[in-house]
């Protein structure tokens, strides 16, 4: 809809009860709120919940909400099915059989407090609070709540997304971009403007590069991918960098199907064109950037022809993309998870920041804008760290990390060091784990069989989730039922506006993450939890930690609140970015640092470079001979968010099986037909199986697999564990292989071969069984 004003003029504001947060519509109570996990996603779209007798009956997108304008993706459209799902956990339970037997005994919340609290206290006293590891998932309704609980309640410095080696998700982009710009930047799709696309201050981006992600399917990092479809309808041109022909690639001016793991080389090649052809913005660079000389010297080491060879691309296309991007005013880059999931992650981030800095696109309308979480609700993974006792903080599992990991910019402990502690008891054994809204075995755990083995060594595991997952069955001693989105009061501010979530219904004894945090926090460390209840806790976050000038109730009544700061452009010229109030950027030099000073500080090369993936046609040619395909993992779909939604009949109707995507040439060579089950195997004898999806829309040397699959319809008990090891793309990935500074993991660029699953020939022993038996090789 190019005409946003027409859309606004047609919305019937009376029919949609503008200004009200709850009303009656026939037999239904309608609640105006936002949906954010569970089930999850990184956003919080405006939604109207229709409830009857405390039960969610149906939903509709809220057309008055500027964040999503009433649009919903299929996951939220299916919210009633998810919320009322019969498999949901209804009560707290304690394990009554051996781990993995899937035998449980219902207990009350009081019993749960009485078992867990003394046990945690005992571990704290006997071994120290640092021997507890706090685990949380991504983007869920837990991103400041659980860190607060882990820091202040468990008093542990060891907080992690667990087995996610190399911090390979988002955090590096945040940290790397902050080194260049002083803060974080996102594509300006008018998200900071309450009038959105109709705002007079906003400009349509002329060009956007979609780089290493499919934002339509992932909606990652607080950014709704479909905002960019609006931009396209208003004239934005696209460049797409992805080995897959995504929707964007098929409509792009240039599609660059770069070889997985070579994005940094490509970025340097583009910088080479822009610098040598003098296509950058000289005035902007002169005024606002520093480091061009050093960068100019470095890019000479990467002539376009050489880059084209590294990336398997046509050099003319690289030039064309660079020229289109540099000529466009304004231009922006929508970057994704592929950035972290390669070895030279930190190098790639600086190179891409240099691309939009040199071309004068930072803090301009329609370019890359510097955003903060609305009303200063800024803390996430470091929330509550002021309560962490110094002696526990000193024992943070980040090994002998120097540089970047040592800095408090990375609040998490190092997953590799935690793994080492689990496996060897060094530097100290891990005594307990608290896992909330995460399913490591099915999803984030790289080398999932190794993670499975390592977790066996933890004596006491508390697990909180809406569903019984493979990880829960395998390891939980106590299971706590977590409420779904419609059942909770909460707030959301990634990035803007500040949004309220309002409880509209309830489900048996499930409690919200906030309620669980407050209830256990009070019992474990009362002085750090002076909160009466969940709402009191939320109010502290938005008004004391942040600067929302009202109460939670005010926010709920109003629904959402836009923030002037995020709506302001050219903040660097207005002295709004630096603590000293001077003009410029909040970096040590006050400028955009093309070779950032912080990188020196962190012992990283501040200038971009290419590093071959550790397994590739070039770095391991002998492996490549027998494993001649490049495997990239983690492909998203509209139906699922990570390991969620697999138990929803509607989602499985659309997407019944895990899919591995390959080019017809590849399929033909290996005798594979559309819909065949195939094994994807690597040289370590590790494999997983998915169904063949054959398409011309992928680089012919690449196969792309999905992640997060488990099968809630299958046997729960061990060794099956809902068949979580059958199709798990993390059967073949590795932990402990990281890039500079311990950052980045090459899980999107390894080598594999593929072959058909043939009944009775190579399917005799289930992978799950092998994993649990411990002789996981060759599937024979």
């Amino acid at each position: 809809m190019a005409d946003y004003k027409e859309f606004l003029s047609k919305v019937d504001r009376k029919l949609y009860h503008e200004g009200e947060w709850q009303w009656q519509e026939g037999e239904y109570t309608v609640t105006r709120t936002h949906q954010w996990s569970a089930p999850g996603c990184h956003n919080a779209c405006g939604i109207l919940l229709y409830t009857k007798d405390d039960k969610l009956e149906k939903v509709e997108g809220d057309p008055l909400n500027p964040f999503n304008n009433g649009k919903l993706c299929m996951r939220c459209l299916n919210l009633a099915e998810a919320t009322n799902h019969p498999d949901r956990l209804k009560y707290p339970m304690k394990r009554s059989g051996e781990r993995g037997e899937n035998k449980w005994e219902r207990i009350s919340w009081d019993e749960a407090y009485n078992i867990i609290v003394p046990k945690i206290k005992e571990i704290k006293e006997q071994y120290g609070s640092h021997t507890i590891v706090g685990v949380h998932g991504t983007g869920r309704n837990i991103n400041w709540q659980l860190p607060y609980f882990y820091n202040a309640g468990l008093e542990t410095p060891n907080i992690s997304t667990l087995f996610f080696s190399g911090f390979a998700c988002y955090l590096p982009r945040v940290v790397g971009a902050a080194a260049v710009t002083g803060e974080f930047v996102i594509v300006d799709a008018a998200v900071g403007q309450e009038e959105r696309y109709a705002s007079k201050k906003w400009t349509v981006p002329e060009c956007v590069i979609i780089w290493g992600n499919e934002p339509l399917k992932s909606n990652a990092d607080g950014f709704l991918g479909h905002w960019l479809v609006q931009c396209m309808q208003m004239g934005t041109k696209f460049i797409c960098i992805d080995p897959r022909l995504t929707w964007w690639a098929s409509r792009a001016e240039v599609w660059l199907p770069t070889r997985p793991g070579t994005d940094a080389a490509l970025a340097i090649g583009m910088l080479n064109v822009i610098i040598n052809e003098k296509l950058y913005d000289p005035e902007y660079v002169e005024k606002w950037c520093v480091g061009l000389e050093d960068l100019t010297a470095r890019v000479q080491e990467y002539p376009v022809e050489k880059v084209a060879e590294i990336c398997d691309l046509d050099p003319e296309k690289i030039r064309k993309a660079a020229r289109i991007f540099a000529a466009a005013k304004p231009a922006a880059v929508q970057w994704g998870l592929a950035f972290e999931q390669q070895l030279c992650c930190m190098s790639l981030i600086v190179a891409v920041c240099d691309l939009f800095a040199l071309t004068g696109n930072v803090e301009v309308p329609g370019g890359m804008i510097m955003v903060r979480n609305a009303f200063g609700t800024q803390r996430n993974y470091n929330c509550g760290e002021e309560w962490l006792p110094a002696e526990a903080a000193a024992k943070k599992l980040n090994g002998d990390a120097k540089g970047i990991e040592e800095s408090s910019i990375v609040p998490h402990a190092d997953s590799n060091v935690i793994l080492h502690a689990l496996e060897t008891g060094e530097p100290y054994p891990i005594k307990a784990m608290w896992i909330q809204s995460s399913n490591p075995l099915a999803c984030p755990a790289m080398d999932s069989p190794r993670a499975y083995e390592a977790m066996k060594n933890v004596e006491f595991i508390v697990y909180a989730d809406p569903f019984l997952t493979p990880t829960a069955v395998a390891f939980a001693d106590i299971v706590l039922p977590v409420a779904m989105g419609p059942e909770r009061n909460s707030v959301r501010s990634w990035w803007t506006p500040l949004r309220a979530m309002t409880k509209a219904c309830s489900y048996y004894e499930a409690k919200t993450d906030e309620e669980i945090v407050v209830e256990f926090g009070k019992r474990l460390n009362p002085k750090a939890f002076p909160f009466k209840d969940d709402i009191d806790f939320l109010e502290w976050y938005i008004t004391e930690d942040g600067n929302w000038p009202g109460t939670f109730e005010d926010l709920r009544n109003q629904g959402w609140a836009y923030w002037d700061y995020d709506a302001t452009y050219y903040k660097h010229e207005k002295g709004l970015l630096r603590p000293d109030g001077e003009v410029g950027f909040p970096t040590p030099t006050g400028k955009l640092e093309l070779a950032p000073f912080m990188y020196y500080q962190w012992n990283l090369d501040p200038l971009p470079f290419h590093l071959e993936p550790p397994e590739s046609p070039i770095s391991t040619p002998e492996v490549y001979k027998d494993y001649p395909l490049i495997l990239t993992t983690g492909a998203r779909s509209y139906e699922f968010f990570h390991s969620e939604h697999r138990q929803m009949p509607t989602m499985r109707e659309f997407h019944p099986d895990p899919l591995v995507t390959m080019h017809p040439d590849v399929a033909e060579k290996y005798g594979i037909k559309q819909g065949d089950w195939v094994w994807i195997e690597n040289h370590r004898g590790r494999r997983f199986k998915q169904k063949a999806n054959i398409t011309l829309g992928i680089a012919p040397q690449v196969v792309s697999a999905e992640h997060g699959w488990w099968f809630p319809e299958k046997e729960a008990s061990s060794p099956a564990l809902f068949d979580t090891f059958e199709s798990n793309s993390n059967n073949v990935t590795l932990q402990e292989v990281t890039g500079q500074g311990g950052i980045g993991n090459p899980i999107k660029s390894s080598l594999c071969k593929i072959y058909k699953v043939v009944e009775g020939v190579n399917d005799s022993v289930s992978i799950g069984e092998q994993v649990v038996r411990g002789d996981y090789r060759d599937g024979k």
């Binding site: 019937d12 009433g70 459209l77 299916n78 396209m232 309808q233 509209y638 139906e639 011309l696 829309g697």
Partner: protein
Amino acid sequence: MANNKYGILIDYEYCTGCHSCEVACKKEHDLAEGQYGIQLTEIGPWKINDDKWEYTFMPVITKLCDLCAERTAMGKVPTCVHHCQAWCMYYGTVDELTEKMTGKTRAVLITPEQ
């Protein structure tokens, strides 16, 4: 002669294949597995030339569609149009939609039985 019959216009150039229309319709009408008031078709991808690909999604409206009679009676737009994430669906009279179609190269106008 004025045509005030209601219909749906789909500017499928921008349809992303997100399935929202299909699921919205299924939920509104409580349709069984395998049944759709609107169902996506996918064409391609295939290569036209070095810089150009064919990769098109187009939802087809079936005989199960009642143009969301209950919703439209209340003054709401059909749920598929309401939720379409790519903003590529429009609801209106044939006259309004024909006008909207002008200049578009890949759009279809459907007037389900009503």
